[in-house]
């Protein structure tokens, strides 16, 4: 069977109907991972442990205790620490690192046990490649080599959750976890023709997620459909006292509106009647490739055909989100990454004369060039004489950006725009010019700064490469975003297209 072409929702039905077992699904995907090494989507697999989990899932089902996701395989981004698989964040700094505990997300989705009664019973296939410490937009910054885009192996898969996206696009995993600090779920999902959602800040516990920029980092799913993302997000999101920023009211069924009409005035033919979709003028101005603009506008027209009304809105500080992000995220990173000092764990240099030299040589050898660049930027903006002008000024503009979204949401229920200025680019095209790479993050950064939920939904192709349409919602409106995306996917088939290599 071609189980790798199925959505998670379909696999769940097949498991329930006993058309397939968890063990069979796990072997199918492990075989595909082995045969699909060319994508470089995985950093570690442990087939024995995967099969052990699958057997547990089959027993849970035989005992009549299976939940919606019991026995469904998934890949975890290597930023989540896991027992049994190496946890490296794609850095030489953490080469071969074995975590003594599971991240909250891994625990929530994993096998239930006495210590973990809420575990969803999903089967871990392995750890997905990524940009080192989640810093990058192309996955070229992995210490273990770049990830290839299954739609065109000469192109990047996006980043930083590029391995997660490529694994799903190439049919090596039915769904994967990712993290999004400035677009790292939405952008690779867009470049690989997938659906991905970054929830509101605080929805998913960051416990055990190797930190990049703590006030921006948020975990979410990358899958084939909005329905699958709703299933996974519902299982991932919960209040976790171990993360002080985890919201007390997290945890809900994010799929509860999927098949509902937007409001009481809507008809079956026009289920989105009453929905107001805001198109920010700044998201459709210079710098956006024609092919992307055309497909995203067609996506908006499709929502209109389903009953929505389109309104023009403004997010005047869109351009400034780039410098604001590239001050705040490196500042937080320079602080977070100071823990990697070569003392208790991680890379330590072989020879050194004193403590200072040990720190410097260990860090210099362990970190890649983009990580070093961001640590340098962070140290500069936090240093004496620059803190007010750079760091505090960026935090003040961050408040303006958050306020601008509220002004826009007075006129609309959700905001629609592109995820990226263009489709996936060729390897090496931007890797020597960090500023060019940063500029391509323009449409995704502001939602992280404001802490809003946002998703990427496939909406077309240009140069035979997929295009993503971004939907941004107000705080805690994930279920509504997924509803609109699901209704769109009932009327279109962009999300069902798969690269020819996979079929």
């Amino acid at each position: 069977m071609s189980w790798h072409l199925s959505s998670v929702a379909m696999l769940a039905k097949a498991l329930e109907a006993k058309a397939v077992s968890s063990t069979e699904l796990a072997s199918h995907f492990l075989a595909r991972i082995q045969a699909g090494g060319r994508w470089n989507a995985f950093l570690d697999v442990n087939p024995a442990l995967t099969m052990e989990q699958a057997a547990s899932a089959d027993r849970i089902r035989a005992d009549g205790k299976a939940g919606k996701l019991t026995g469904i395989p998934l890949a975890h981004k290597d930023v989540f620490v896991t027992r049994g698989w190496k946890s490296t964040a794609a850095s030489k700094m953490l080469l071969d690192y074995q975590s003594p505990f599971d991240a909250a997300v891994v625990e929530r989705l994993g096998m239930p046990s006495e210590q973990n009664p809420g575990g969803a019973g999903m089967v871990c296939l392995g750890k997905a490649n990524m940009d080192e410490f989640a810093m990058g937009s192309s996955n070229e910054n992995s210490a273990f080599g770049p990830v290839l885009n299954p739609w065109n192996p000469a192109c990047v898969a996006g980043g930083s959750s590029g391995g997660s996206a490529a694994a799903v696009a190439a049919g090596l995993a039915p769904i994967a976890t990712g993290t999004d600090t400035g677009g790292s779920i939405r952008q690779p999902a867009a470049l690989c023709g997938l659906t991905g959602i970054k929830p509101s800040y605080g929805r998913v516990s960051r416990y055990g997620m190797i930190a990049y920029a703590s006030s921006l980092d948020q975990a979410g799913p990358i899958g084939k459909t909005a329905e699958d993302c709703a299933l996974l997000l519902s299982a991932m999101s919960h209040h976790d006292p171990r993360d002080s920023t985890s919201l007390a009211d997290s945890g809900e069924d994010y799929g509860r509106y999927l098949n509902a009409a937007w409001d009481a005035s809507a008809s079956a033919a026009k289920p989105l009647t009453g929905l107001r979709v805001g198109l920010p003028i700044e998201f459709f101005s210079e710098g956006l490739a024609d092919g992307v603009a055309k497909s995203v506008r067609e996506g908006a027209s499709q929502l209109q055909a389903l009953g929505a009304t389109l309104v023009e809105v403004s997010l005047p500080k869109t351009k400034l989100s780039i410098p604001v992000y590239y001050v705040l995220a490196p500042a937080e990173a320079s602080s977070n990454l100071s823990r990697f000092d070569g003392v208790r764990y991680g890379h330590r240099t072989n020879e050194y004369r004193d403590l200072s030299e040990m720190y410097k040589k260990s860090r210099t050898e362990g970190f890649g060039s983009e990580v070093k660049r961001r640590i340098l930027i962070g140290a500069y903006v936090l240093s004496h004489g620059y803190y007010d002008a750079y760091y505090l000024q960026a935090q003040r503009i961050r408040r303006i950006i958050a306020a601008d979204f509220q002004t826009a949401f007075a006129q609309c229920d959700l905001i629609l725009g592109p995820v990226t200025p263009d489709v996936a680019w060729k390897f090496g095209e931007k890797s020597n010019d960090p500023l060019q790479m940063y500029l391509a993050d323009i449409y995704t950064l502001s939602t992280n700064l404001a802490g809003l939920p946002a998703m990427s939904v496939p909406c077309g192709f240009s140069q035979d490469l997929p295009i993503g349409m971004q939907l941004i919602g107000n705080y805690f409106s994930e279920a509504r975003l997924l509803q609109v995306a699901h209704q769109y996917q009932q009327a279109t088939d962009w999300h069902l297209r798969q690269p020819s290599e996979v079929l």
Partner: protein
């Protein structure tokens, strides 16, 4: 930003940069900071810094919990990443000189 600044922040970051590496990274940082300078044109006198996105929405109290032991003894798992061990302890270089 000048070459001296690069070496200064490299030291603050406990990173070593050769002269050639510093010369390579300087124009990259200069290009990034020319963009960062655009922030200075914004009048932010009426806005307080926002450190955490949910603080924009509502005040959050620092969560507290009762001070009792919640962690079990996981010595075996915890020792896995120890660079060296002796008598069941982590062995690390002397860090107080």
């Amino acid at each position: 930003m000048k070459l001296d600044d690069v070496q200064r922040i490299a030291h603050l970051s406990r990173l070593e940069l050769s002269q050639a590496e510093a010369e390579l990274v300087l124009p990259q940082l200069q290009a990034i900071f020319s963009l960062v300078e655009e922030m200075q044109a914004v009048d932010t006198s009426n806005f307080t810094p926002l450190a955490h996105p949910i603080l924009f929405l509502r005040d959050l109290a620092q969560p507290l919990r009762p001070d009792h032991v919640t962690e079990p003894n996981n010595r075996e798992q915890n020792m896995q990443s120890a660079p060296a061990q002796q008598n069941g302890y982590f062995l690390v270089p002397r860090v107080i000189e």
